[in-house]
Amino acid sequence: MEMSSPTTTEATQTVRTDNVCRYYPMGGDLIRAVDGISLTIERGEFVALLGQSGSGKSTLLNLMAGLDRPSSGSVLVQGRDLAKMSSEELARYRRNDVGMVFQAFHLIPSMTITENVELPMRFAEVERAERAQRVRESLERVGLGHRLEHRPSELSGGEQQRVSLARALANRPLLLLADEPTGNLDSRTGEDILNLIRDLSLSLGMTVVMVTHERALAERFAQRLIFLGDGKLVSQEVVA
């Protein structure tokens, strides 16, 4: 709250970055992965982050997810500055406010589909009875009602991404962060997933930030495209 100024847009903003930077030392050099980016994302918006690999889009996403800390600047989510949170507070933020989807799905191979979706609720200390219900609910939302006791390796890529989406929804986040969610899928399946993400965003009023390098897909599903290059914001386009 401390960083927020009483502007009229404040209430409708989900994410705001102020001149955020993330530098890594690498073999004596300093890599400027994110180099002074300021942007705002409105509540319920579907935004795509585009750019070449190494442009800093994934790093920016990780900063928004609270998985990484900025070298300078701030990342405000609903007015709270992630840079000033303790690691325990960041964990709580990731647990309750953020859902994440990855290119490689990152499901836990030894756990069944149900267990994978249940896992974030274990960290959030949701009661057992409620968990079972929420697992079912999340899986229904992504269109998976069967093979719930199978392991991820027994599912197709598209199905795995649906499971990981269901896992991201389990704790009912206000922000969904997707890092190349279609990167490992064929184009048909990729489109299905993005359709699903858009529908969920609309029905749940959830803000979505997606990293991708496929401009065509981004144009079809996102409301706004943000182009990054060399860690800097290059341009923005609102899709009509």
Binding site: A65, A91, R92, H106, P120, R167, A168
Partner: protein
């Protein structure tokens, strides 16, 4: 994260690599087993030694005499006693007071008189001594043939085997249950003569009372029919006490009831203290460790005391050192097991880098990750501890079995040299969990420190 979730996740993670975690758990159990086996051996040996010492009946006893008597035996003691003539005498009230002291179980006089046993028309001479009921626990009665006295004043006697053989050389055993006649000297008090003048120096003011005064006594021959109830092979109390040196044993209260005349009664008569006094009282203490305390209390009452130096104390010191060494040897295996836990968990951290990153990304805090690894470590510790106790128990049984065979070959009764006390079971499990947690310290903090961004990079 809630406790049961932590437990569930830990168990499922352990089951992921059954062989590796199983082997580590077995490693812990071997460590715990060696520790348990060693410490129980220490406990068993200590109990064996104290049991033997307590059985000798020497270390839980305080011998009490009056400072009026036996003067000149101990110069130092004499010098310390300023007015020995004013010192209290060992009479019935003093005996009752001692019986009421804390930790005291028995106060009995030492009775040893001459007697004759008439059997089959033959008389046989022997010393008769009085034994308290507690003598049953003495090791001389471990191999008692027949029974012990049925009561502290029962008309019964127990014979030393060599005396029984004298009575019936062909089959001494058949004496058990037979009735014999004991001939003894009864002490009959005499009334004071008119020439007897009140004692001038006597501290006791009641010395001048006439009736009941122990002015003098006659020794009169008496007979008493007694039943032989048992035969023992060796002298009680290892032959170390006055009452050990006899061949005919009676319940001590019976000897008092029969008013058997003792040599020492002359002292009582000279004193003219106005009633029967004892030369020596034997005070039995509940626990050898409390002897000093009781002795102190009796000294404060104004009596001279004597006890065999509490050997159990130095014994305890010896066993503490022995336990320490056994513990160190036992711990070596556990130390190796600790390294195995560290190794297993470090491997698990490396293997599950990605998984830990995912967990963090979906909301696990550093402390959740740390707790998860601790839970895995303590689960291995717990199961290793359980298994280790079972294994240690088996080893101990084997030790007992082996020593049993060895002792049997040497015609000795079996002894439990290995005893697993209940506290050790709990302590071993707790200890193996603590050790596992310590071993988990490094791997857990390493897991908690993992950077999720690094682990989740698409490779």
């Amino acid at each position: 994260m809630k406790g049961y979730d932590l437990f569930e996740l830990a168990v499922r993670n352990l089951r992921q690599s059954k062989l590796r975690n199983g082997l580590t758990t077995v490693g812990i159990s071997v460590g715990v087993a060696s520790l348990v086996a060693m410490l129980s051996l220490g406990v068993g040996l200590q109990q064996l030694a104290t049991r033997r010492l307590a059985g000798s009946g020497m270390f839980d006893t305080v011998f009490v005499t009056s400072k009026q008597d036996f003067r000149g035996f101990d110069r130092e003691d004499d010098q310390k006693t300023e007015h020995p003539e004013k010192a209290p005498v060992l009479d019935q009230p003093a005996r009752d007071n001692m019986a009421h002291l804390q930790y005291v179980t028995e106060v009995e006089p030492e009775v040893r008189v001459m007697g004759e046993v008439v059997y089959n028309g033959q008389t046989h001479f022997g010393f008769v001594t009085g034994l308290p009921m507690s003598a049953r626990e003495n090791e001389a009665f471990d191999n008692l043939q027949g029974k012990f006295f049925s009561g502290s004043a029962a008309d019964e006697l127990i014979l030393l085997n060599e005396f029984a053989k004298e009575l019936d050389p062909s089959d001494p055993k058949q004496l058990i249950g037979q009735e014999v006649t004991l001939r003894y000297g009864e002490r009959q008090a005499l009334p004071a003569e008119s020439t007897d003048r009140p004692l001038l120096s006597g501290a006791q003011s009641n010395a001048d009372s006439t009736s009941g005064d122990d002015f003098g006594f006659s020794v009169v021959r008496k007979t008493q029919a007694l039943k032989v109830v048992g035969i023992i092979q060796e002298e009680p109390y290892g032959g170390m006490r006055t009452v050990s040196r006899g061949r005919i044993f009676l319940p001590v209260d019976l000897t008092e009831k029969l008013n058997m005349a003792q040599f020492t009664d002359m002292r009582s008569s000279l004193r003219g203290a106005g009633g029967k006094t004892y030369m020596t009282l034997t005070v039995r203490v509940k626990d050898p460790g409390k002897v000093a305390e009781v002795q102190d209390a009796i000294n404060k009452m104004g009596f001279r005391t004597f006890s065999v130096l509490d050997a159990t104390k130095s014994l305890r010191r010896f066993f503490t050192v022995l336990d320490l060494f056994l513990g160190i040897f036992g711990s070596l295996a556990l130390a190796v097991a600790t390294l195995a836990i560290i190794n297993t968990l470090v491997m698990a951290v490396l293997e599950r880098r990605r998984e830990i990153g995912v967990m963090k990304a979906i909301g696990a805090s550093d402390s959740d990750v740390k707790k998860l690894f601790f839970a895995e470590a303590s689960a291995m510790g717990f199961f290793g501890g359980l298994l280790g106790i079972a294994l240690g128990f088996a080893i101990g049984k084997a030790i007992n079995w082996g020593t049993g065979i060895y002792l049997h070959r040497h015609q000795l009764p079996a002894e439990a040299v290995w005893i697993l006390p209940t506290w050790l079971i709990g302590a071993a499990i707790a200890f193996s969990i603590v050790v596992s947690l310590l071993a988990g310290l490094y791997p857990a903090s390493r897991a908690a420190r993992l950077d999720p961004v690094q682990t989740l990079k698409y490779e």
